[in-house]
Symmetry: C2
Subunit: 386 residues, 2 copies
Amino acid sequence: MIANITLNWPSVIEFGVGKVKTLATHLKDNKRIYFLADPPIMSTIKPLIDELKGHGKEILVSNEVVPEPPFEALEKLLSGVSNFAPDCVVGVGGGSAMDLAKLVAVLFSREQKITEVIGIDQVKRRNVKLITVSTTSGTGSEVTPIAVLTDVANKLKKGVVSKYLVPDVAIVDPALTLSLPPAVTAATGMDAMTHCIETYTNKFSHPIIDNLVIEGVRLLAANLERAVTHGDDLNARTACALGSLYGGLALGPVNTAAVHALAYPLGGEFKISHGVSNSVLLPFVMSFNLPSCVEKYKNIGNALGINCDCADEKIARKAIMKIKELSNACKIPAGLKELGIPENAIPHMAESAMKVTRLLNNNPREVTLKDATAIFQMAYNGVIDL
Amino acid sequence: MIANITLNWPSVIEFGVGKVKTLATHLKDNKRIYFLADPPIMSTIKPLIDELKGHGKEILVSNEVVPEPPFEALEKLLSGVSNFAPDCVVGVGGGSAMDLAKLVAVLFSREQKITEVIGIDQVKRRNVKLITVSTTSGTGSEVTPIAVLTDVANKLKKGVVSKYLVPDVAIVDPALTLSLPPAVTAATGMDAMTHCIETYTNKFSHPIIDNLVIEGVRLLAANLERAVTHGDDLNARTACALGSLYGGLALGPVNTAAVHALAYPLGGEFKISHGVSNSVLLPFVMSFNLPSCVEKYKNIGNALGINCDCADEKIARKAIMKIKELSNACKIPAGLKELGIPENAIPHMAESAMKVTRLLNNNPREVTLKDATAIFQMAYNGVIDL
C-alpha cells in the first residue's frame, strides 16, 4: 500500500523568470522587514528595497553571509537583528543565506539558544513571516524545513530540522542565477542532482516525491552542463532551477542519505563547500549502494538519457558512470585528493560521518564504519571502478 | 522555456491511512473550533471532538451540508456561526462540506457578503485557521483555492477563487473513504480523473503539474473500478485518494476547462451531482478536443495502460474509448438522456455553459456556442462516435 507522508511545503511557491518581482506583493502587509542577502545579489534587490522604504516600511539589511556558516556567524546576525524586531525575515541567496535567514526568523526573539534547536523538532515556534529567494540551483533550502550550521569546535556540520523553518513564501527566479560563475553553477547543480537521487533511492522514498525527483534528474542531466558552460542560457538556467526545486521539495518529506552524511566532514573539517562535497562523493556512494538499488538506478539511467536494450544492472552501472561523466564535464574536482584532503584524514572523517545517523538511516544500504572508510578511499583518487 | 507558475497549496498536507488522527495535533493551539461535517462521518470524528472538549476547547458542530450548496445554505450556516467566532474552521466531508467550510472561514466575520466574493480574487482576507479533511476521492477541494455555490435563481453554478480559500492544513485519509457507496466512489473518482485530464491537456498546463496529474490518471485508471466494486479494498482506496490529491493540487495552479464549464448547467439546472456531470461529459469533451490534443492524449493513453505499437492518433482515440469504458464499468450513467435531462434543454444549457468563460478559456480547443450544443447533443444519447 502507498505509505503515509506529510508534505510540509511553503504555502506559496513562485517559480519562473522575473518572479523576484512578486516579493513586493508578499511583503505588502509587513512593516519591519529584515533582509539577509548574499552580497552579489544586492544590486538586483536594491531597487525593491528602495521602493519598500518609499512605502514607509522599516528595512534592515545585512550582507554578512558566511559560507558553511558557523554558530558564531549566526550569533553575530542575531545580535544585529534582535533590537530591530522584524515582522518578516527575507533570505536572499544560496543555501547559507537562506539557512541563516531561517534560523534568524526563529531565534531572534532569544526565546531559545542556537544549541537548543539543533536536531529534529526542537524549535518551539516562529512568530514572524519568513520568505526565501533562492539565487542558486541549488540547495533547495528555499522550500525545506532544514538549516545546517558548522560546529567549528567539533569540526562537524549540525542540522536544525523543524516545520517552523519552512518558509511561508519561496521565490525561485531562474534569472537570478544568470550571473553565477561556472564552478558555483556546477557544484550547486550537482548538489540538486544529489538531492534528487538520494531521495529517489531513499529507504523512505514515496511515490509523491518520486514523481518530482525523477523529473529533476532528467532536467538536470539535460541542462546542467549547458548552464555551466553557457551561463547566460536562460532556458538551461530555468530547467536547472526547476530540477533544483524538485530536489528541494523532496528534502522535507524524505531527506537525503549517505552522500550527505559523508559530505558533512568534508565541510566541517576541510571547509569544502556543501555542493562540491556532495558532487565528489555522489558517484562513489551510488556505486556502494548499487546492490540495493538496481531497479531504481535503471529508472535514474532512463532519466539520464540512457536508452539501451540491456539488463537492468547494466543500465544501473551506466547511470553511475553517467553521473561521474556529468560531474567531470562540469569540472567538479575528481576526488578527495584533488580537493587537498590528506589520505590520513579518512579514518577520522569516516568516524565523523557515522555520527550523522539522521541521514545514514535513510540510506538504501546499511553503511558501517568500514564501508564509510572504503567509500572515502575510493573517492580519494576519484576513479570509479564498476 | 518553462513557463512561470504560482503554487498556492496548503502548507501541510497529511496523506495516508489513519492521518485523520493528526487533526488533534493541528488543533493544538486553537480554542474555539467550528466543525462543518458531512453527517455520515460524524461517528468517526465524534471521539476526537469529545477529546477536544475534554481539553477545554469550545466546539461548535454543524452537519448542515447540502449537496451542490445554494447561496441560502451558506447564509444559514453563517447565521449559526457568526456569534460563535471560531479561531479555526474545519470542514470534514466531500466537496460540498469543504467548500462551505472554506467560505464560512472567510465570511463569518460579515466583512463581505457572499455575492461580493464571487469570481477571482474578490476575498479580502481570512483571519482564522482553516483545515479540510476529505472523505471522498474526490473533488480535490481539500487543497484548492476554489469553492462553488449554486445560484438557484439564475440556475447557475458560481465559483469563488481566492488564495484565502486554500486551507492551512489538508488531511487526506483513505480510510475515511472505505464506507463510500459505489455510486459516490464512481462519480467522485471520475471527477478526479477529469481534474487530471483537464489540467494535463489545459492551455495553461505546466510541467510541474503534468508530472502529478499524469500519475493521477495512472493511479485512477488502475484502481477506480476496484474501489467501486470492492469498496473495502484499502489499497485501491489509497491509490484513488492519491490520484484525487494529484488532481486537486492541479486545480489552483492550472484549473479545469470545458468539461467543468459544460457540467455547470447540469448541476445548476438539473441538480445532477458535480461528479456525475463531469463523468458523463468527459469522454464527449475529450472527443471534441482530440484535434488539439493528439500527443497529450497519447500520453494519457499510456497512463491508462494502453500499449500498442500504433500511431499517436490511434492511441489518442483508444484513450478516449478507455475513459468511456471505465465510466461504463463504474456504472456512471451513459448520457444526458439517462440522467433524465430533456433534449430540448440543450440549447439553453449550451448558452449557460458559454458564460463560464473562466474555465472555457483554459480549454485546448476553442468552444463556440455551436460546439457546446454539439457536445451536449453527442452526450445526450451517450454513445461515443470516434
